[in-house]
Point group: D2
């Protein structure tokens, strides 16, 4: 098909990076030309990831801007917080397009970043430059952009579940409570007692209650949609499973709105967007039903007794919550159909 | 040591019944004299439950009131909904004490029962007679009673997390939202696609949203505590694990209350009750930390930004949510220390 | 690309059938034109499988030979044992190509089938006609064939691990012991206490010891390779996971053979076959490293102390052990590259 | 009951140590007087193990021989390999009884220890002194002893499954193959990528093939039973579960022996030993059926076709494979009934 984009991946030894490899292998217009790891440069890519044996044959490159600039047109940054704030400006200056999967460029205010991430923020100039790539909401901004900040996994699930209702003014923004649950891959590949199998298995736990760094990301985005400041209650839980996020979101309904009306509203908002699937009345999505895929599925329950709506939204945190959405952003940046290379069915069971 | 209560268990082929066997084996004052199954009478108890091989040697008895009355002083009913409403009056009439683990006698109103359980209710007379055995809240009523309705698993977890705050008037009852999660044993031992391993594993799902039969049980009890009608939003989720329930409960705080104040309030309310453990500030309990035990652990987070408290309460649904609490009720009925035979440590990991 | 094969799937409400749908969706030369279920005809395909919502939009067809013959060129039979023995002759007579995923045509002897399957065998005529589609061993037979018997999941894993060594005469066939372990999806989607989550989770169990119906399939095939009768000891175990099979196979080595020599032998035997990946010395494959993919990975350990080789082979039972290998057979039948539509990376983690 | 033994636990922040705390809490004749951790001395015991909140109230002691000698009569060493070889002689010299749960004193030959453990061995004097505490086989040696080496988890499961048949001469010792599977708690509480939830979950893997340090322990013990040198093939696998070991053991039967005969032989050998349960014909034990308990369950399959017996033996690796067997040894040392404090039912489901 002629055109072929050369892509580099930085931070390919984490779960986001290795999922980018899996997905880009199947993308018709992209060739991975460099996989970069500061810690393991020179090692075979498949050594740390035996599932890629005979599929990916190269070795890990060093992190060298000139080297990347010579080999690639675009760079995916799947690095821990605090790395891409330094790296992205240099890569952009070298003429590369950048899609940053870390949280470094999601918050527009450096003060808010510092408060929640407890790190030195990126410069205001580049924070302003970065386009927040929540494709179904801000896809128009992504088209033609060179620098994308890929949304957080929890934020993606919560926001896709909330935006149409907030935009329509159907729910009271001061009543939003998001009860979020994630599989363990969301914690990354770094070892700690908190991800030890014997500690996580047969266990369900809450963590970072009221303190998760996706809270300001969700609030910033909802505020942008609503045109007013919004504060939410947001709790994160660890589920004994590898992949998947569910947000069970509660809010008081303004006026009387039926489940059918919510379904229609969401179908209308997401019309033409293949990766959001609104479920029929009385059906709520489960995380396995999107596992391994780029879908976000949404279902509703309206309780007339209490006047509240319960919105259930699920994603695969590694795909729609990270690598898949990054490729969806790539597709939009390049003017391709947003589903290119991503329209595969979930893996079930 | 002299006294020995003879106990019968009806419905011993479900998870509640078999857990009663495990726990009563270790109880110093109780001897199991009859284990009853309508479906498998005559078979060895250990046949369907090989883990009891050489531990429990008898055979399953038929369901015969006279037989039970001749063999036992007290009967645990671990039967499906709709069975004990018929059976309990007969057992009581035969002079037996009864602890009912089903939902048949939890709701005081037959109309409400019928609405939520979609079944014929028990008679008002026996609904009035049954003592709702939430030990830490209504233990005084249990002492000396002959007929106990053992609380539901979700209800136990939610209520122990809410009662002190509701009683103190520290939270706005109209804002209570309970996001509940349970392991699969809560669904019972009956087979269905919904409990098929390949459907549940690596999956997190919501079910019966706004429709779970523990909603009226929670509301009836909170209403009794508060002296006013209370309506809650309550969502149930299935966690890919066998045992454990967590309720993550949200409510707006009335006035300004710190986490320390909530901790003090709860410690005071539960003083002398060994099975409720209030966690120190900044610590939230995980389900594994009570697994296999009769504890209910509770932690708090107060969010000054939104004025809400998040209460996290966990139990083992099979123990504190069923068989363990039933034995705790037995202890109270008999005037024994409520911890008799139950004060063992959780199984970890 | 011009050519398009019309495929029908019978028995699409089991795990093999639904995986065929997932994989064929991504196949460039195949269009699914009919999905057939005797039990649910008329229902939307996505109703029982919500992960296919908006991906597969048709309804389930009835099982009607004329209907299938009008709509399809080839039929995949993902039916329980005993169904395709009746159905396949009729479908073949109607001019359709058939790939049978059940065990009905794997054993060439009707007596042996009856002994192990405890069912009425297919006719000798059709047993003779069916080509045993273990692609890497008998791919030449598959090319141009109209009727394929797709190998069993355990048999695929065991045989790919054993064939090169048996063929080379490097191991003593009378010493072969296969210790096999499978995820729960191998038991199918039918409900039973044996697949209840609470019974399987945190549990490892053996079943059908010395009695599994894949034993004669393995022995028939090894005998064909060796030119002599071979009897094996074969144990099946259930692993608390959804997908994956590992065979840990033991045999006494004839002569002195190093691990490197085994690796070379297998690399040579499987040269050009992309779906078998021989691991480097000292590395043994894990089931997750092939999950969701059509690969079979193999590793070796030679113990000089005991003179035995341990061969570890893993597959995804639903892909290489069922639907994936069926499509690989389709590719070979049609003269396409055997990897067409199947060359995607395993899902990790 | 008057007598009370004061026990100290060294290494209480691992899974073996914390399980000792759980089990000793329920032991009628033992009081834990010191819990020792070199890394966390001074911290509350329940801090790292919140499940012990309000159950164990002390702080962790330093490792100081005099301190221990002043507080305790007996010491459990639940330390990593290489620690107790130094520590045990000192504790014994201070007049303490010692039960060592590590591997340091299991092998009688320092050379063999060095070869398999890759560490400096203990002195021959203390290796000779240590009694190998496989209670059901060598319980007589344990009575009255002061220094016990507690068997390894895999070794316990394998040996209890093999000893009666080896002793009776019913199997050919040169044909023994042990295919062993363990839950993840067997790897200990130290963090590593190998125990990361996302790497272990939905995965089944083999490790240390032919190289596990329990191989010489098994061979030394079988050799002692048989009066001749025995070599075995032994493979270890990691099961995605927390607790449990199964050994599937294969051997050629000498003469003709039926399953009933094996069952009788084992029942006779283990007569009076409550913790070994021989299963009836046609039943094989699963790991969950002993979970949380001190039982070892054993089942058999004899294959007339191949002349082999398959022996399936299961234990809970943390109980019978570590802390439970250590307490069983304590009971024997002290002349108490070996089941004291240990005769509780498995936790099911």
């Amino acid at each position: 098909m002629g055109y072929e984009l050369r892509a580099a991946i930085v931070g390919a030894t984490g779960y986001g990076g290795v999922e980018l490899i899996r997905l880009l292998q199947a993308h018709p217009y992209v060739r991975i030309t460099s996989v970069i790891s500061t810690s393991s440069a020179g090692a075979a890519i498949a050594e740390g990831f035996p599932h890629l044996h005979e599929i990916v044959v190269g070795v890990l490159d060093e992190l060298d801007i000139d080297l990347i600039a010579g080999k690639a047109d675009l760079v995916f940054l799947a690095t821990p917080a605090g790395v891409s704030s330094e790296l992205s400006p240099k890569l952009l200056a070298a003429g590369l397009k950048v899609i940053d999967l870390s949280g470094d460029f999601r918050l527009k205010s450096p003060e808010v970043y510092e408060q929640w991430y407890k790190r030195k923020p990126a410069s205001q100039e580049y924070l302003d430059l970065a386009v927040y790539g929540l494709c179904e909401a801000f896809g128009e901004d992504v088209r033609g952009a060179d620098f994308i900040s890929n949304p957080g996994c929890y934020a993606t699930s919560a926001l896709l579940g909330l935006i149409p209702a907030v935009k329509a003014g159907w729910i009271d923004p001061s009543t939003i409570i998001i009860d979020a649950k994630s599989g363990v891959s969301g914690a990354g590949r770094a070892v700690s007692l908190g991800v030890h199998y014997a500690e996580v298995n047969e266990n369900f736990s809450a963590y970072k209650v009221n303190k998760h760094q996706h809270i300001p990301e969700i609030e910033q985005t909802l505020g942008r949609i609503a045109g007013q400041e919004i504060m939410t209650t947001f709790t994160t839980h660890l589920v004994p499973m590898t992949r998947g996020i569910m947000c069970t979101t509660y809010a008081s309904v303004i006026g009387e709105r039926s489940e059918e009306q919510f379904i229609d509203l969401y179908k209308q908002y997401y019309e033409g967007r293949r990766f959001v699937r609104v479920r029929p009345q009385g059906k709520w999505p489960a995380t396995k039903e999107v596992s391994g895929s780029n879908f976000c599925d949404i279902g509703f329950a309206v309780d007339e007794r209490t006047g509240r709506v319960t919105i259930i939204s699920v994603i695969d945190n590694v795909v729609k919550g990270a690598a898949g959405q990054a490729i969806q952003n790539l597709n939009l940046m390049m003017g391709w159909d947003e589903t290119t290379g991503l329209l595969f069915a979930p893996v079930y069971p």
